[in-house]
């Protein structure tokens, strides 16, 4: 990790999650969840949920098309919560019971922004 801040100053305590959960693609964030333990997922979930409402407010001060790099990184972390949601709020384990990882599902065309 480089020393330069990659998130807006007010969200500095989330910096440790940028490498693990801040991928700019849905596939990257999906892999982040599938390759982590429930304990690791929970640490991110708790820390990010605590700041998520503020993060959404911060990002919405700009247009999604026009985000500065640090706000874009912050938005990627907000989207990481969708994957943490799957583990914590649906399955109660990192991946769906009885399903393989890696698997043959691929995102051939993702959402246009950070997808």
């Amino acid at each position: 990790m480089s020393g330069a801040a990659r998130l807006p100053q007010a969200f500095a305590e989330l910096e440790p999650f940028v490498d693990s959960w801040g991928s700019h693609t849905t596939a990257g964030r999906l892999a982040a969840r599938c390759e982590r333990s429930m304990d690791e997922i929970r640490v991110f979930y708790e820390a990010m949920c605590a700041r998520a409402e503020e993060a959404i407010g911060y990002v919405d001060r700009f247009g999604l098309d026009d985000l500065p790099d640090d706000a874009r990184n912050l938005m990627a972390l907000v989207l990481g919560l969708a994957q943490a949601h799957v583990a914590i709020e649906i399955h109660g384990q990192p991946r769906a019971p009885g399903t393989p990882w890696p698997n043959s599902i691929r995102i051939a065309r993702g959402l246009p922004f950070l997808g």
């Binding site: 969708a82 943490a84 599902i105 997808g115």
Partner: protein
């Protein structure tokens, strides 16, 4: 909405199978495992039926193209828009030595240049130039354009047909189904989100899983069971089922309300604006009202409705739900493997919360597909063992019964007209 009335509807027995004019006996499993049947299906069905490949909005401008692989034959096709605004389909094959002329799934090419020796074609397929033409032997360039594939559009959907001269046009192939679905507004159709997966199951095993809701309370207990079943309708019985020649539609039950669980912080975060449920609307509320008003959308006007499956023969399902439409396709690879593709359509997110809702939607769709992926492989292994030669189908599985009946008919029929009779 009257929940009591719909509760009563599920106390007795439904009778869709008989209403559709289908038998009620066991259905053969051989078409799900036999290499011989697979081969006949390739020739008689996939090389004669009109196959859906995309939407017009995906190639709005001159030179825009997408390529697609038509399985099971593995035929690579290019769909593009010409200078004249017309959509054409071509075999992705150079007239020189047969190389594929375009790589990549999408793009813009007003000139199509084969990467092997730079033979160059116009967007309408005409051959424009041959490098070092003088060293060839009087090539007739007029006869060396890209080979066209039959293509037609209907309601914005683009279809191709692998018969050089299709026996029937697209409208005849769609028959009454085209009338039923005429005028459905497809909003935000220009940018599909596309997921693909290669599965260890015959394509019909996979398609069958998406046209019945009987399996949902069992397989998708945690992901979507609560959306499709309730104490009023414990086994997710269908609301409606109809057939239209080789095509079919089923309408599925659903819970009108999905209470949010306050312990689920991300769910609350995404839907804190007061919306309940897990829906993403594909358009503005007036666009959605127009969509939901269409008589083919929630055709029984049920308060407890989750979705309709519109199964275009042989391998496409255009689904309607409260938030819009999406498309599943099931392509044969081998007798016991297939390629599954789902495309869903969402508008550009306007703000961070909307974008999070979309991400939740995509994440959940992937989990549901994963559950089905494990299930279809298990089913195929069971079928392969030859322990059983037939399956028992109940009334809510009427779509599967109709699918097998139609495939057997097409495989036997000498002509498409006979298959459609």
């Amino acid at each position: 909405m009257n929940i009591t009335a719909s509760a009563r509807a599920f106390e007795g027995k439904t009778a869709f199978t008989e209403a559709c004019g289908l038998g009620t006996g066991p259905v053969p499993l051989e078409p799900y495992r036999s290499p011989e049947f697979f081969e006949r299906e390739r020739v008689q069905v996939f090389e004669r039926a009109w196959l859906l490949v995309g939407r017009e909005e995906e190639i709005p401008a001159y030179g825009d193209y997408f390529s697609t692989e038509l399985l099971p034959g593995g035929v690579s096709a290019i769909l593009n828009r010409g200078k004249d605004g017309r959509i054409r389909a071509f075999y992705n094959t150079c007239s020189h030595r047969g190389s594929q002329v375009l790589d990549g799934p999408t793009g813009n090419a007003r000139r199509i240049v084969c990467p092997y020796h730079n033979w160059t074609y116009a967007a309408d397929g005409d051959l424009i130039s041959i490098p070092d033409e003088a060293s060839f032997f009087a090539v007739d360039k007029k006869r060396c354009g890209l080979t066209q594939m039959a293509t037609e559009t209907w309601e914005g959907w683009i279809f191709v047909n692998l018969q050089r001269q299709p026996e029937v046009d697209l409208r005849t192939f769609l028959g009454d189904f085209a009338d039923r679905l005429a005028g459905v507004p497809y909003v935000a159709a220009d940018k599909p989100i596309v997921l693909k997966a290669d599965l260890d199951a015959n394509w019909k095993v996979v398609q069958d899983a998406f046209i019945e809701s009987y399996h949902i309370p069992a397989i998708h207990k945690k992901t979507i069971a609560q959306t499709f079943s309730s104490s009023e309708n414990r086994f997710a019985r269908l609301l409606d089922a109809r057939t239209f020649g080789p095509h079919r539609t089923v309408s599925m039950y659903g819970n009108p309300t999905m209470p949010l669980d306050e312990r689920n912080k991300v769910e609350m975060l995404a839907y804190a604006s007061g919306d309940t449920g897990s829906l993403i609307a594909a358009g503005t509320s007036s666009q959605m009202a127009e969509f939901l008003d269409h008589p083919a959308v929630n055709p029984t006007r049920a308060g407890c409705w989750s979705m309709d499956v519109n199964n275009l023969f042989p391998n496409t399902q255009i689904d309607f739900g409260p938030g819009g439409f999406w498309v599943h396709q099931f392509w044969p690879l081998t007798p016991t493997t297939s390629r599954y593709e789902v495309r869903f359509y969402v508008p550009d997110a306007l703000n961070a919360r909307q974008r999070l809702q979309q991400e939740l939607y995509v994440a959940r769709v992937i989990e549901v597909v994963l559950e089905d992926l494990a299930n279809v492989a298990r089913t195929q292994r069971g079928i392969n063992s030859s322990g059983k030669d037939e399956m028992q189908l109940q009334d809510s599985e009427v779509g599967i019964r109709h699918s097998v009946e139609q495939l057997l008919k097409w495989v036997e029929a000498e002509t498409v007209t006979e298959a459609l009779a």
